[in-house]
Structures are given as C-alpha cells and as structure tokens.
C-alpha cells in the first residue's frame, strides 16, 4: 500500500479496449435497432439483400454487443483496475504489457472474423457460440493470454490480499474457460472427409438433448460469467472509487461471491423447462434459479448500502446515477429471471418476447450502464482530462433510462399477450387463435420496443461523442483525481 504513491500505472492496453468498447457499442446497438425495427416493419429486411435479413443479423447483434462491446468493457476495466488493486503496474513487466498488446490484436482479428463469418452465414448455430472452429481456437488463445496476464500480475502484486473485484475477474476467467471449451467441442469435418467440403465446417460432439443441455449450461452461464460476474467486479471497484465510500460489508460480499459461484451453474436447466431433458433436471434448474436471488441481491444491496449517508451524490454526479440505477436494474433483472424460471410461469413465458425483454433490462440497464460509468471514470485517469460534458451525461442517462423502460414494458406486455393467446381455447376446447393472429397483435409493442431501442442508441452516440471529446479536448488535469471524476 505504502508504495502506491510512487507507482505510475500503464493504461496503454486499457485505452485500446476502451475505444473498441465504444465502437462495438455503436455497431452492435445500431444492428439491434435495425432488427427491432424489422419486426415492426418487415420491409426493412431487404436493405442489404441476403445479408440484411432479421435472421442473419440477429446473431450478429448479440455477438457484437456481447463479445465486442461487453467483453471490450471487461478487458478495459480489468487492464485498468487490476493494476490498481494489486498495486503493480503493467509497465513494470515488458513481457506482460507485450502480451497485452498481442491479446488486443488477436481480439481484433477474432472480432473481425466473427462479423464476416456471421454475415456470410457461417455458423455453428448454437446461441452465443455461433463461431466456427477456427475462430474458437483463436478465442481459446486470447483467453489463455488473458489468464497468463492476470496471474502474471497477481504473481507480481504488492498488495497481498486480493480485492473483491479480483475474485470476480478470476471467476470470469475460469468459468468462461470451462464452459466455452466444453460447449464448443466439435469435430472439423475436413479431417475425416478426404478433402470434401468446406474447411471451416464442424459438427457438434453432442447430439439432440445432450447438445441442448450442454448449450444451455453454457448459454445461461455465459450470462453468468460475462454479464454478471465481471460486471460485479466492475461495480465493486468503480462505485466505491467514484463515491469515495468504503464497501458496506465485507461479509456480505463474501457470502454473495461464494453463493453466486455455487448456485449459478445449476440454474442453466431453466432454459429447458418442459423440454425433453429429464424432469429432475428441470426442477433443479427452477429451484436453484429462485435461490439465486439471494447472492444476486446480496451484491446489489451491498453496493446500494455503500452509498449510505452519501445519497446526495446521486443528484450531483451522473456517474453515480448510472451505477446506482445499474444495481437497481440488476435487482429487477435477478428477480424477474427466477419468476420466469418457475415452471408454470415458464409455460407461458418461454418462446415469447418476454425473454428478450428480460435480457434487455439486464444488459441495457445493468451491464451497459456499468460499462458507461466505468469508461468515463477511467477516461479522466487514463487521459488525465476532465469529462467533457456533465450535462450531456445527464441527458444520456435520462434518454437511455426512458429507452430501457419502454423496451422492457412493451416486451412484458407482448410476451404475456402472446403466451396467453397461444393457449387460449373457446368453450369447446378448440384453439381460439391461429398463429398469425398472435403475431399481428404484437405490432404496436414491436414499434414501441424499436423506439425504446432507438432512444438507447441515441444515448450511445451521445456517450461516444462525450468520450471522444473527453479524450481529446477535455480540460487537462495536473494529476489523477482520487475519487470523484471531475467534469465540466
């Protein structure tokens, strides 16, 4: 601790990822607004021929916002905050810093490959694991490099005890490594076919029900270890740092961490309720989903209580606004998820728009808000400049919050309406609606959702402009601010 005053942190790799987070954020959310609009106005499917249909673009949207925007945000915050909580600079090891650059370059190559291959329709078709085997291999390399850098920094650390954020980054690293490897077990066909067929094609190691189980063990836990665990790492570092408050309870963070680790993995089965996987597994998925409220709310409450006695900051500092609302959305989302995981509710909710609604109150309200706040906080330190515009941040906050609310409320109504119509019967027990009736009825909700998404995208552009101006034209700072980020 005592030597920290002399330590000059090296943010060069962190900065690179900060820029890619902004760029992928714009790209991914623009595609998102386009595909949301396509559902309301199908003519929009024909803008780019074969490459512009909803079906082709949908995985591109999810992959760019997950692996582009979110993962960039995770890497940026890691390369920024790991040095600081471990009290060691990336600059102290040429090797680690070099590996950091290498990791970034490989990441860019993989991301480009991902975008191109998905536009072309080259896909393994498993949700959030669409990339074919050559890209999977590249991703394993990127991930291993990250592990080497993480444990390299840990090996060099001056602060002996790992801070809470580091627990979560370690868990993110291990969890994704395990899940990604097992879910992407696939056999490249070119090795067996005697030179026939495409070299990049592969076939899954698992079939049918087993494939579904492994996929949703992954799919659900990609949410756990990409959208939850590292984002908790981010809030545990940036909220106390920005507010100048100590974390409310160490014991609560301990309980939430180990609770989350143990419980989360069990809950994957809730994606397969009423399917052909065994009943006991479905019930386990349901039960553990409900238990999951405890560790989730534990973290969120711990963060909210960290603001105890300092709630005035909520009105004064837009970054605190983003983070406090993010933890609130985290609570909403982690209550909504377990409700949907109850078998009787799931019978109505599954396959409907309530599911994307649920996903988006989590990712727009929690994940992206945290990343925005962290990026701005880091910008003042990494670029040694004041935040360009406070009022722009405030405006962004309200526009995006309105967007999220429009998004999930419309999708709640759409989902429940459709779920009820699918099962509605007349007095003789015959189905009341043909399928297309249940599609036509959704038009107004799809329109509202597209508007909500558009508002959020507008906020994203405001953020990008604000970030760019902060990095290039913000008032210069003599030294790193300690707590609250200065803004004009």
């Amino acid at each position: 601790m005592q030597s920290s005053a002399a330590l000059e942190y090296d943010y060069s790799v962190a900065k690179l990822y900060m820029w890619t987070a902004v760029i992928f954020g714009i790209v991914g959310m623009t595609i998102g607004v386009l595909i949301a609009s396509q559902l309301a106005f199908p003519e929009l499917n024909y803008l780019f021929g074969e490459y512009g249909t909803f079906s082709r673009l949908r995985p591109l949207h999810t992959n760019v916002v997950i692996y582009g925007f979110t993962v960039s945000g995770i890497f940026a915050t890691f390369y920024y905050s790991a040095q600081r909580v471990l009290k060691v600079s990336m600059g102290e090891s040429k090797l680690l810093n070099g590996l950091g650059y290498l990791q970034f370059i490989l990441y860019l190559i993989a991301a480009t490959g991902m975008v191109i291959s998905e536009l072309m329709g080259i896909t393994a078709s498993k949700e959030y694991a669409q990339m074919e085997w050559p890209l999977d291999v590249l991703i394993v390399v990127i991930w291993v490099l990250w592990g080497v850098i993480m444990f390299g920094l840990i090996g060099m650390r001056r602060e002996k005890a790992l801070y809470i954020s580091m627990w979560y980054y370690i868990a993110c690293f291990l969890g994704v490594a395990m899940l990604y490897l097992f879910n992407n077990m696939e056999v490249p066909t070119i090795f067996f076919s005697g030179g026939v067929g495409a070299w990049y094609h592969s076939v899954s190691m698992y079939a049918g029900t087993n494939d579904a189980l492994v996929q949703w063990w992954w799919g659900h836990n990609a949410v756990a270890f990409v959208f939850t665990v590292p984002i908790i790492a981010i809030i545990y570092y940036f909220l106390p740092k920005e507010s100048g408050q100590a974390v409310y309870s160490y014991k609560l963070s301990l309980l939430s961490f180990w609770g989350l680790m143990f419980v989360y993995l069990w809950a994957g089965g809730h994606h397969l309720l009423w399917s052909t996987v065994p009943d006991w597994m479905q019930t386990m998925g349901s039960v553990f989903s409900v238990v999951l409220i405890l560790p989730s709310w534990g973290s969120a409450i711990n963060m909210l209580l960290t603001m105890k006695g300092e709630w005035n900051q909520l009105t004064e500092n837009p970054l605190i606004k983003f983070m406090v609302l993010a933890s609130t959305f985290y609570m909403l989302s982690t209550l909504e998820g377990p409700i949907q995981a109850v078998k009787s509710v799931n019978a109505i909710a599954h396959f409907t728009d309530w599911i994307p609604g649920h996903v988006h109150d989590g990712v727009l309200g929690w994940v992206a808000f945290m990343i925005f706040a962290a990026l701005m906080h880091m910008a003042t330190r990494a670029f040694k400049r004041e935040i360009y515009s406070k009022s722009l941040l405030e405006a962004q906050f309200w526009i995006q919050t309105t967007g999220v609310v429009l998004y999930f409320t419309s999708m709640w109504i759409a989902g429940i309406t459709q779920g009820m119509m699918w099962r509605a019967v007349d007095e003789y027990g015959n189905l009341m609606y043909s399928f297309i009736d249940t599609v036509s009825v959704l038009h107004p909700y799809y329109t509202i959702r597209a508007i909500g998404g558009l508002l959020y995208l507008i906020g994203m552009f405001m953020f990008a402009y604000n970030f760019l101006m902060t990095a290039t034209a913000g008032r210069k700072l003599e030294q790193e601010p300690q707590f609250r980020s200065p803004m004009a």
């Binding site: 082709r56 067996f192 067929g197």
Partner: protein, 222 residues
C-alpha cells in the same frame, strides 16, 4: 474469516473452479448415455437433408422458429405430438431454438407441402398475408453446399457411428458418385413437387439450389 484464502490466489482459484464445475457434473453426466439413444426406426438424415439443415443454419431460421413441441394440449393441438428426446438423436447441433416469432417447425413436414414451401420462401405474404417473415429469394439462386453436407455425413459415420450405409465414404470420387446417383434424383423429386419452373430447370442442369435442400429438410421434420 476467509482472509487467508484471498492471499493464496492458487488455492482461491482451485476453490472457485471446484464450486463452479460441480453443478455441470451432477446435471449433465448421469443422463448422458440415455439421452444419446435414438427412438426405434429413426434414420439418419440424407445428405440432401443435411445440406438443407445447413441452409436452415445459414439463414438462421432458429432465430424465429423452434423445433420443440412442449407437452401441453394447446401445443399438441397446434403442432402435433409432443417432442421426444430420441427423435433428436442425429441432430448435431440441436435446433430447438429459444424464440417463436414464427410457429414451431418440429412436425412441419406433416402439414405443409413442397409447393407451399416454394411459395412461402419466395414470398411469405403470398400464403400468409400478414406474415412478417422476410422473403428468402436468394435460396432459389444460391447452390446448396452438398459437398460439406457429405463431409458431415462421413464424419458422423466415422466418429459417432451414425448408421449410414456403404454409400457414404471419404474422398472426392465417392462424393461425386453419391451426388449423381443418390442426391440428384432425390433433389429432382423435391423439385418436381415444388412446382417451380426455375428450380426444376436448375436441378435438371445438375445444380441443386438451396431451397430444394431446405425443403427436403423441412419435409423430413415429422
């Protein structure tokens, strides 16, 4: 309380790994062998059907269509018998989907015909006026990748013992023989049933458009 653990990154990481790996073992392993078994009489996909499955993946039908009929009366009334685990034994990957913007397709072969599909893929509104599904006209021009589908059949036969006959062998010569003697005639049957002149003309020239493979696959879903 746990401070000692937080000072030992190695033990800490081992602890985390055990705690997270546990659930996967308990949930996935016990049923693995049982869930791999096909129902009686299930045949593996023909190469043309596999090529159709690749079109289904390429144009990502899974974004809006499920292949999983849940055991509710409202679903069995609408789509047919509820889905059984063994029906999916040759599905690599599984294509259950997670969203029904359009209807379920697990038994679509029971109640739609090739010419209905031909009209629908060319212009969905021609058969379902309020449809919000995009038209997939490019499937009528693009040639289906039978070679890759064949490679997949060879691979699953070798690696997973999927019960294909002797007609599936590695190598280009074997593929070409298969293409001429088995795949093309199969495609011709589908093309004739689709009642679309351009499609038929293409198959007569020895080229199989994507839509023919796709319809072969959809016809198989029963």
């Amino acid at each position: 309380m746990f401070h000692w653990l937080e000072k030992n990154p190695f033990l800490f990481s081992v602890g985390v790994f055990i705690v997270i790996a546990f659930a996967g073992l308990v949930e996935i392993l016990p049923n693995f062998a049982e869930a791999s078994r096909p129902i009686k009489g299930l045949k593996p996909y023909t190469v043309l059907q596999l090529a159709g499955k690749e079109v289904y993946k390429k144009d990502n039908c899974i974004a809006c269509h499920s292949q999983l009929i849940r055991p509710f009366k409202s679903e069995t009334d609408r789509y047919g018998k509820y889905s059984l685990s063994g029906e999916y034994a040759y599905d690599r990957p599984f294509l259950w989907g997670s969203k029904r913007t359009g209807p379920d397709l697990h038994r679509v072969g029971n109640y739609r015909t090739p010419d209905w599909h031909a009209n629908h893929m060319w212009n969905p509104k021609s058969v379902v006026p309020d449809s919000i599904m995009p038209a997939y006209k490019h499937q009528f021009k693009n040639v289906a990748d039978l070679a890759t589908a064949y490679a997949e059949a060879v691979t699953v036969k070798k690696v997973f013992n999927t019960p294909y006959g002797d007609e599936i062998q590695p190598g280009k010569a074997a593929f070409e023989k298969y293409y001429k003697t088995i795949a093309l005639p199969e495609a011709m049957k589908i093309a004739k049933a689709m009642k679309n002149k351009d499609v038929l003309a293409m198959v007569q020239q020895g080229k199989i458009p994507e839509v023919v493979a796709l319809v072969a696959y959809l016809e198989r879903l029963k």
